[in-house]
């Protein structure tokens, strides 16, 4: 029997997975093991599957994903640090028939942009908010975030977060679930294939809610930061499971405008 060569395999009929057309061919700048690339891709896949590429405008934050517009083949606006929900409000209010989303990290959404987050959620802006929480400021070099866990080391809490001095980690997602304007609030991760599938389903649901005019859909993705946490990627994922998930519990918090009974 003749040996199968690479050339035999690389054929159109064998293609089962490829770059989604909603992502550009640009190489991602993220660290190996980072969850941003997967989260970007899931949003892009949902946009492609729903056929809404021409109707979608995204808002990027300040943080590691500031350059998200290099990777998404859609119109995008880059917001000042924390202001993405206000920028998205401005876009959506003048183009109510378009799909508008923000993509924000924990420093952006839960520290400097707290007011914009809470009030856009409270007004029930008909937008999607994607919140990537890795408990640290990645871009500026691993400083303490509002979501840094108690005892967790960062470059500005080098001996671990002392809550008596530095305050407590904030559960922004539980907080916005209390507001009348949020319709769908959920927390996921993208570190295993199973979690990726669940996260994608939530992202799809968020866009479907916007299509139906339901108000804010808020999807948190608890992610790792192996560079900031100073761990190899696999170890970072294990650490995330052992430390982040017990505090930031995965699952739905509010569905169809109603808090989920625990």
């Amino acid at each position: 029997m003749a040996e199968i060569t690479l050339q035999d395999i690389i054929k159109e009929e064998n293609l089962v997975y490829s770059r989604t057309k909603v992502m550009t061919p640009n190489e991602l700048h993220y660290c190996p093991g980072c969850g941003h690339g997967t989260a970007h891709r899931l949003i892009a896949e949902v946009i492609e599957e729903m056929g809404i590429q021409e109707q979608t405008v995204g808002v990027t934050p300040v943080g590691c994903s500031v350059l998200m517009y290099n990777y998404m083949d859609i119109d995008m606006q880059e917001a000042a640090h924390g202001r993405a929900p206000a920028v998205a409000t401005g876009i959506k209010r003048v183009m109510p028939d378009k799909y508008v989303f923000t993509y924000q990290g924990d420093g952006d959404l839960a520290a400097i942009g707290t007011a914009e987050t809470i009030h856009s959620c409270n007004r029930g802006e008909n937008i999607c908010i994607f919140f990537i929480n890795n408990g640290i400021y990645g871009m500026t070099g691993g400083q303490m975030a509002p979501t840094t866990l108690e005892g967790m080391a960062s470059s500005t809490s080098p001996f671990g977060r002392d809550v008596s001095m530095m305050g407590n980690p904030i559960k922004m997602t539980e907080l916005v679930a209390q507001l009348a304007g949020t319709y769908f609030v959920t927390r996921h991760s993208v570190h295993t294939p199973r979690n990726v599938r669940r996260a994608k389903k939530a992202i799809r649901q968020a866009f479907e809610n916007q299509k139906a005019g339901k108000g804010v859909s808020f999807v948190e993705i608890v992610s790792n930061c192996n560079s900031g946490w100073k761990m190899p990627p696999v170890k970072a994922n294990e650490w995330m499971e052992e430390n982040m998930f017990p505090f930031y519990k995965l699952g739905d918090i509010k569905v169809d405008g109603k808090l989920v009974e625990k």
Partner: protein, 361 residues
């Protein structure tokens, strides 16, 4: 709606003019002495009259970032505030300038610094004309001296903002905002349709069709050489604005020995001071800058060759006087008379200051 004559407050006139201009959205936050702008807009139900969006934001920060978002889609967008609120907007204004987006920002100035006073001031001249936010940028700054100009500068402002893709500030003050005068309002303009906007502003984030590359609104450039090239593009634009868009009013300058320079409400007071001085036999003229950026440097420079001196009159500690000194460049004396803290200069005090500082000196 046709042309119409009405008696209105400056703040109301600018709001009505915005509806008639076909402005797509207003985002604001209440602050004295300009809260009538959003109050008037809300009471007029502009969503019914023209489809205009009016939203009260949770802060000036949020309001200016809503402006940034909506302006990015190619819409006519507006915000208004007063001094402390404008300081909060400065971050967003820098991003809007850095992203080359058109919009109109109204500042009904009050005395400062800090919380200051709710009485009128002109103490935000530096902030408006020299930057205010971070980075090398310029606003086009219009200074209305009447309720009529409050209304008229809405149209002028949007024409300039879209012509140059640059934020425009209407630098008013508590007097102009609060006082009532006769105003002739322009007929209602139609708002542009989404299709018209796509055709007129191909740079806008209106959703990416297959026929074009994606549009990105950003002020971020990590490569120094590219950022410098962008800065040089901005410099060129600002030079073009300086060459083409200077507006001023010149009164009694032909035979004048002395020139008062004043803008906004103080220019109105200086008109009285000029009459009083002329009644005393002092030949006084007035230059009223209508654009503060671009500043009417050429006319002041020209006058410097023939007059005996200048006096800047401001409700500030002396801000515009620096631009006059740059224009005069040491050829003639340039004095300053100002009141601060919400105090308003009286015509007779201006004449006394002129006599003491310029003529007696």
């Amino acid at each position: 709606m046709d042309k119409e004559l009405r008696l209105m407050k400056g703040n109301e006139a600018i709001a009505e003019a915005a509806i008639r201009e076909g402005v797509d959205a207003y985002f604001g936050y209440p602050i004295t002495p300009q809260s009538e702008v959003i109050e008037y807009l809300m009471s007029e139900k502009p969503h019914e009259r023209t489809g205009m969006v009016v939203l009260q934001a949770e802060s000036e920060l949020a309001a200016i970032n809503m402006v940034y978002g909506a302006a990015g889609t190619g819409r006519k967008v507006m915000t208004s505030s007063s001094s402390p609120g404008i300081s909060l907007k400065m971050e967003g204004i820098s991003y809007i300038a850095g992203s080359e987006l058109p919009c109109v920002i109204v500042n009904v100035v009050r005395g400062g610094p800090g919380l200051g006073t709710i009485q009128p001031g002109q103490c935000d001249y530096f902030q408006a004309t020299k930057g205010g936010g971070h980075g090398d940028y310029r606003l086009i700054v219009l200074a209305p001296a009447s309720v009529q100009e409050m209304a008229d500068f809405i149209e002028t402002g949007y024409d300039l903002a879209f012509k140059y893709r640059n934020p425009v500030m209407i630098l008013s003050d508590g007097i102009i905002g609060q006082m009532m005068e006769k105003v002739e309002l322009k007929p209602q303009k139609k708002r542009f349709t989404p299709e018209e906007i796509i055709n007129k502003y191909p740079w806008a984030t209106t959703g990416k069709p297959k026929s074009r590359e994606r549009n990105i609104i950003t002020s971020l450039e990590l490569i120094a050489a590219k950022q410098e090239a962008f800065n040089q593009k901005l410099i060129k634009k600002y030079q073009e604005i300086q060459e083409n868009e200077i507006k001023y009013e010149a009164l009694n300058t032909d035979d004048a020995d002395y020139i008062l320079v004043a803008y906004g409400s103080v220019a109105r007071i200086c008109m009285n001071a000029m009459e009083e001085a002329r009644a005393k036999g002092i030949k006084v003229g007035l230059i009223r800058p209508i654009t503060l950026f671009p500043f009417p440097t050429p006319i002041i420079s020209k006058l410097a060759d023939k007059v005996k001196g200048f006096m800047s009159v401001e409700m500030s500690a002396g801000q515009m006087v620096e631009d006059i000194r740059l224009a005069v460049n040491g050829r003639k004396p340039v004095e300053f008379y100002g009141r601060q803290g919400g105090m308003i200069p009286a015509p007779e005090d201006i004449v006394i200051a002129l006599e003491q500082k310029l003529i007696g000196g």
